[in-house]
Amino acid sequence: MPKVSALNMPDVPMGQLPPHLELQRTRVSCDKDAPTHTENVQSAGAYTSVGVDNSLCLDQFRKNFRVTVVRLTEDDMEFDMIGIDPSIANAFRRILISEVPTMAIEKVLIKNSTTLVQDEVLAHRLGLIPIKADPRLFEYTSENDNPNEKNEKNTIVFKLHAKCKRGEPRLPVKSDQLKWLPGGSEFKVEKPSGPDSTPETSPQNKYTNFSCNQDSMPQFANNPIVPKHPDIIISKLGPGQEIELEAHAVKGMGKTHAKWSPVSTAWYRMLPEVVLLQDIEDELAEELVKKCPAKVFDIEDLGKGKKKATVARPRSCTLCRECIREENWEKRVSLRRVKDHFIFTIESSGALPPEELFTEAVKILEEKCERVIAELS
């Protein structure tokens, strides 16, 4: 008998993974009790024994990578990102939430507030109001709180003056009453009067140091800065109450405070894949269609009164697992997630349109990569 190597297995196809491994590599299987095979196989040599090279190849990536936009409105966007590793998709998500800068109110100078809302709370509420201003047109302010460094390039000043006259009903103060002051702060710095006090005209007397009016700058000329939503209730004024304040918005990032996050949220989900492991016919088919609240399944009429269940809308699967909840159904239906297909959703909070947010995120990631490369070389 000729000696045969143990590795010589003619029935095992070389250069290709056996189907069960391939399934584990590319799909998360969502079983009844827990999802399995959620992690990605990263190592290039994970499948060398079966002759498969698992290394990431840029050309391959270029060929396979696709982005299709599913939905795009003013504030939100859904798009598919296919052929990418979850870690990179997640990086985009993380950057969107915490590292894409926006403008948000950071300093509030309260001249008078007789509302029930406490000053700190009022300032906090103002901070969370999204402002429709392109953060790319602004610079970051320095850490220290020097009025000289607050100029037209890094600060937006709003004014809020609302008063409820005596005898009038309660007055809600909404975000549209925040008025943009393109010329910077109008409040004067109260200095203790003394001989060394600076003359009135000096810029030292103001809380900002604008060299020109912001509305004279071309980028704002036809595009005034306003809060994104006009109807956010800031406070309610009772008769005789008044608010007079100035709010200074600066550029910042979501990781410092959530108010600078440009998205309400950004997230992805992996593409659902629903596979019928057996032919499901007649009553069972109807039962299956009835089970699913997301209407994933349809019935196909085979003629002769025979019916068969088909997977019509796998994308709408919410993973409620109703279809596999009952006994014996797990062997008929398999719920999976495609590991390299991401349905990405961005809900912009309003400073930038969602598609631009994403490109910003890509730019930031690029910058980071370059920084790493620069550090390494």
């Binding site: 969502c30 827990a34 969370l128 997230w267 997301a294 909840r325 809900e347």
Partner: protein, 1133 residues
């Protein structure tokens, strides 16, 4: 076959049960509408103000001079006026809120009408005065006399009052005081128990207006004795019976009962009596006269004392009219019989913890005692003054009425209320801690405080009996709400529907009983007392007589009660075992309303409920028409109460209104409490009172010394009916947090929770702490006064005066930092004599807060205090966001601190993009078994997805006041969630899906008042105590951290001697001493000679320097001062 449409029969309709049970829940809000949450307090106080005070005045209406009996003052009427205060002889009406802010007492004048004599002898005239003020009575809020009664929401708002505030408390000197409900054993009832020595005893604590006494009949060595405080030793009962005129032994036996077993038990006592040669009343009284307690210094004739003791002290609650001792004899015989029953059958021993044997004393009763005492004292004072004036005979225009003062009553009431000490010598009452400052930490805390029942006996006793849950508490006292620790089970809380009765007129009821066929005692011979076919009728502990048809009598009484002919709180209870009918109309019994059912069919029909929904029927109508009645604990024993309608039993007499009313206010907040392990509900009851939230609608206009508020409080997504009834949905104390139950980061062990930073940024758990500080401008004897100066903007301390306005007082809205001066006060340097040119020195008041804390002056109020000094109150506000170490809790007794705060992008997220607000470790569940929390999560999740508040009332599933898990799961599935509430989550860190489905959804979380900022403390160097020179103790004094004896023991065991030396001496109180090697005493260091000198040897030759703890040196000196000489023996080291 086709059936014509109109003939088609809906078979399903026909097959369905004929009538569905009526939803009686609507009764509850109606009940609470007429009753409020604290009706027991209000009723009690109203009863006092309307009835009791008149009785007291009537009983003590005459002040007569003992010198000239023709001189007198007679009270003819009394009433309480409107709450007002007299300032500089002008009367000003008071509102509660004004009192809170200006530190005054919310009180109303006590107005009396008097007739009195004026002038002396011939010129004496009889005069009348109306509305003489004899004092000021503190007014209970929302009581009949309070300005807030009957006001609607807008009017209340105008008065600065919160419409949800239940009232029931007092305002004394600006602080809100609650008189706790006192629980005690019922008075005037026979109680069979075993005493400390194991004897069976029958005891009665008698309490009448005149006397209080305790009568005990006990059996010792087969003989029966009477124990009374007036007799130093127990006296034989047979002698007592003979002394009361029952000379025939046979009659005694007949009175006790003809059963030979009773006679056998009585025989030794009869024999003893015979051996003592006592056969008639005279002999018995003589015998007893000798036994009476002798007073050391009195030569009062002892003769006849025994009879008066038997008349006035022995069973004082049984009245003796015209020397007729027969009722007393019968009462004693009944006691004997009950005791013998207990001897023959141990089951007949009474349970002291049985709620039916308890009475609750409420504010009205307590104040009435206090008032009676003070009133009598005042009358005595007036009499004394009257006599004084008459003996001196100086008063020409002698006017009695001028002696009526108002201060003693006012101050007595005020003092008792503000200290909580009831010291009434007249009633032998010395109780402490009767009042407490109303807890205003959260709305629930204040409501819960009003339902608190505190016990009479001391708490340290290690007995389990009174602490255990009593089955008779059902529906009356909350089974969950009790504190942990030493007061566990002793301090209780009333259930939602409990009512506490007030006294009711006895006379009419007694005559009614007689006309319903009760045979009076006078008509009965001893033999007839216990005839087998008759029952004794006992009214408020008094034997009225017997009735031959007890059931008929009871049902007649009940019929009259249901018809409203007698008070609705009169209880009729047939005790078959004791063959007695008990009728009670006394105050302090707990009772609750129940729906009356005839043979299991509810009297309340759908049309009744419909009428109520339409608003034409109130709860009182139900009561008046006999659809609902109040049952007390005893009468419940005669009733068979069904939980729900439609239970197929014949004998059902009553139906519960709603099962969840067995819980109190605090436990009512818990969703699905019936799914939780019982102690968890108890823990939540304690924690709900520490949760921050809204306190009242007027919270921002109050000036409490400490106030915790939540910035964005929410109403719970998963509510209960109780929450809606008490108004917790309007004054919530928590927020609905999306919780993921998973482990994350390791900072969540031991119940810690992981919080989402973005949630905190957006306002989750943010709270406001308001602290009050007061500055008083004192007035001094030499006409000087503290003053406030305009701040010196260029002075030494100008940087500390930034928050000051030009008037020297801090301006509201200014940011105040530690050591900032908030009032620029100056005090006079000389407060003794009246010299001119008094110098002032600054006495700043500075803000003491944690370093780096950024607080704001919220409000400044100027008022005058009790002594008419100017008083400036500052409210300083600090807004805090949650930080690591802050304490949070769900509503299921699951508390935990914040373990770490994590960026949102690191948090897991669901397929819908939902990111949890906090992560809780799943290990919190298995040992705690809080299934209710899991259902809350499910229900909350279903609630947010379908837009309907879900309910989780206790035991509410059958009646539809709680959503079932099945229904909730169905909603979840409809909305695309898994039926079990578990979601498919992606890791925020790696981006891959998590390897488990995560149980995620909203849970109502409470932020508790314990925050690290108030607790964290460390010190390197700092202040020391003067006396011992050791570091101070406690955070408030910036104290050191003590290395205690146990820690020291560890170090000793380890041999770390240098460390011990360093900790206990170097870092504590090192002191250098000069020790004389000869005499071993401590010397001193002479700085001139630069040597140590021993003061006892008078030289400096043998002096050594050494180090000693200062405390040790102190000890030596203290010992020396006691003539003990400690000597140090030094050796070379």
């Amino acid at each position: 076959m086709e059936v014509p449409n109109n003939l088609q029969i809906d078979k399903q309709f026909l097959a369905s049960p004929i009538k569905k049970s009526v939803d009686k829940f609507q009764l509850l809000p109606e009940f609470l509408k007429v009753r409020g949450l604290v009706k027991q307090h209000l009723d009690s106080y109203n009863y006092f103000v309307n009835t009791e005070i008149k009785k007291i005045i009537r009983a003590n209406s005459l002040i007569q001079s003992s010198i000239d009996p023709e001189t007198y003052i007679r009270y003819t009427n009394v009433k309480i006026g409107d709450p007002s205060i007299e300032i500089d002889h002008s009367v000003d009406n008071l509102t509660p809120h004004r009192c809170r802010l200006s530190d005054t007492t919310y009180a109303a004048p006590i107005l009396v009408d008097i007739t009195y004599t004026k002038g002396l002898k011939e010129r004496r005239e009889i005069k009348q005065k109306v509305n003489v003020i004899i004092g000021r009575m503190p007014v209970m809020l929302r009581s009949r006399r309070c300005v807030l009664t009957g006001k609607d929401e807008a009017e209340l708002a105008r008065l600065g009052e919160c419409p949800l505030d239940p009232g029931g408390y007092f305002i004394v000197k600006g602080t809100e005081k609650v008189i706790l409900i006192q629980e005690q054993l019922s008075k005037n009832r026979i109680i069979i128990e075993t005493d400390k020595k194991g004897h069976l005893v029958a005891s009665v604590t008698s309490s009448t207006e005149a006397t209080k006494s305790k009568t005990v009949i006990l059996m010792d060595k087969e003989k029966i004795f009477l124990q009374l405080n007036a007799f130093p030793k127990p006296v034989p009962i047979m002698v007592v019976m003979k002394a009361m005129g029952i000379e025939s032994d046979q009659e005694v036996v007949q009175m006790v009962g003809r059963d030979p077993r009773y006679a056998a038990l009585l025989l030794p006592s009869i024999q003893e009596c015979a051996t003592e040669n006592i056969f008639n009343q005279q002999q018995a009284l003589e015998y007893l006269d000798n036994k009476v307690k002798k007073f050391a210094f009195s030569n009062v004739n002892q003769e006849g004392r025994a009879l008066s003791i038997l008349r006035d002290v022995f069973l004082a609650n049984v009245p003796v009219r015209e020397q007729n001792f027969r009722p007393k004899c019968i009462y004693a015989a009944v006691m004997l019989r009950r005791m013998m029953d207990a001897i023959l059958n141990k089951d007949a021993i009474d349970d002291k913890d049985y709620v039916g044997n308890k009475r609750l004393e409420l504010s009205g009763q307590l104040i009435s005692l206090l008032f009676e005492d003070l009133f009598k004292t005042m009358n005595g004072e007036v009499k004394k003054q009257m006599d004084l004036a008459l003996t001196k005979n100086l008063a020409r225009s002698f006017d009695n009425s001028n002696y009526l003062t108002r201060d003693s009553i006012t101050q007595g009431l005020e003092r008792a209320l503000s200290t909580g000490n009831w010291d009434l010598k007249r009633f032998k009452m010395h109780r402490k801690g009767m009042t407490q400052v109303l807890a205003r930490l959260s709305f629930i805390a204040s409501v819960g405080h009003m339902t608190k029942v505190s016990p009479q006996f001391e708490k340290s006793r290690k007995v389990s009996g009174p602490r255990a849950l009593q089955p008779s508490q059902w529906g009356m006292l909350c089974p969950c709400d009790t504190p942990e620790g030493e007061a566990c089970g002793l301090v209780k809380n009333l259930a939602l529907m409990t009512h506490v009765t007030t006294d009711e007129e006895e006379g009419p009821l007694i005559s009614l009983c007689h006309s319903l066929g009760v045979e009076g005692l006078e008509l009965l011979s001893a033999e007839e007392l216990h005839t087998p076919n008759s029952f004794l009728v006992i009214f408020n502990g008094l034997i009225l007589g017997k009735h031959r048809q007890p059931q008929r009598f009871a049902s007649n009484m009940r019929k009259l009660r249901r018809a409203g002919k007698i008070g609705e709180f009169v209880s009729v209870y047939v005790n078959d075992k004791q063959r007695c009918v008990y009728i009670a109309s006394d105050g302090g019994r707990v009772c609750r309303p129940l729906v009356i059912a005839d043979k299991g069919i509810s009297r309340i029909k759908e049309h009744h409920m419909q009428e109520m929904r339409d608003g034409v029927r109130t709860f009182n109508d139900f009561l008046r028409e006999g659809l609902i009645e109040y049952l007390d604990v005893n009468e419940q024993n005669n009733a068979l109460i069904a939980l729900y309608e439609g239970e197929p039993k014949e004998h059902i007499t009553h139906i519960e209104i709603e099962p969840f009313t067995i819980l109190g206010v605090c436990a009512g907040l818990i969703p699905f409490p019936h799914h939780n392990q019982s102690p968890r509900n108890t823990y939540q009851c304690a924690m709900g009172k520490q949760a921050m939230g809204n306190i009242a609608y007027n919270q921002l206009s109050r000036m409490d010394s400490l106030l915790y508020l939540l910035v964005y409080p929410q109403r719970p997504l998963l509510t209960t009916r109780t929450i809606e009834l008490v108004g917790y949905d309007k004054l919530g104390a928590g927020q609905n947090a999306t919780v993921a139950v998973m482990s994350y980061s390791g900072y969540d062990i031991e119940d810690a929770i992981v919080m989402n930073k973005s949630s905190l940024d957006r306002g989750f758990g943010r709270c406001i702490v308001l602290k009050k500080s007061v500055a008083i401008l004192q007035k001094y004897g030499n006409n000087t006064q503290d003053r406030i100066r305009r701040p010196d903007r260029k002075g030494v301390d100008h940087h500390k005066m930034k928050v000051l306005d030009e008037d020297g007082i801090a301006a509201p809205g200014e940011i105040i930092r530690p050591y900032d001066i908030y009032v620029n006060k100056e005090v006079p340097m000389n407060t003794k004599d009246n010299s001119q040119n008094i110098q002032f020195k600054p006495s700043y008041q500075t803000y003491k807060g944690a370093k780096g804390e950024r607080a704001v002056i919220d409000r400044v109020a100027l008022s005058s205090d009790v002594n008419n000094n100017l008083c400036i109150k500052f409210q300083i506000r600090h807004t805090r966001r949650p930080e690591v170490g802050d304490k949070f809790s769900s509503r299921h007794g699951q508390k935990g601190v914040c373990g770490t705060i994590v960026q949102q992008e690191d948090f897991p997220f669901s397929e819908r993009g939902i990111c949890p607000d906090l992560i809780m470790n799943p290990h919190g569940f298995p040992s705690r078994m809080t299934i209710g929390k899991m259902i809350e999560l499910l229900g909350g999740k279903a609630g947010v997805s379908c837009g309907r508040f879900h309910y989780g009332s206790a035991f509410g599933e059958p009646s539809g006041h709680a959503d079932t898990v099945e229904a909730i799961s169905k909603t979840l599935v409809e909305k695309g969630f898994s039926y079990n509430g578990k979601d498919f989550l992606y890791s925020g860190i790696t981006g891959s899906p998590l390897q488990a489905y995560i149980f995620m959804g909203p849970i109502y979380y409470q932020k508790l008042k314990h925050m690290v900022l108030d607790k964290m403390h460390a010190r390197g160097r700092g202040p020391r105590v003067m006396l011992t020179r050791q570091p101070t103790e406690g955070r408030s004094r910036d104290g050191g951290l003590r290395l205690g004896e146990m820690e020291r023991d560890c170090l000793i065991a380890y041999g770390a001697s240098m460390l011990i030396y360093e900790r206990l001496m170097i870092s504590s109180d090192p002191f250098e001493v000069q020790v004389c090697r000869v005499c071993g005493l401590l010397g001193y260091y002479n700085h001139k000679l630069k040597t140590g000198i021993c003061s006892s040897c008078k030289n400096g030759e043998n002096i050594s320097k050494m180090k000693l703890p200062y405390a040790c040196k102190l000890l030596f000196q203290e010992l020396q001062s006691m003539n003990i000489v400690p000597r140090l023996k030094l050796t070379e080291a």
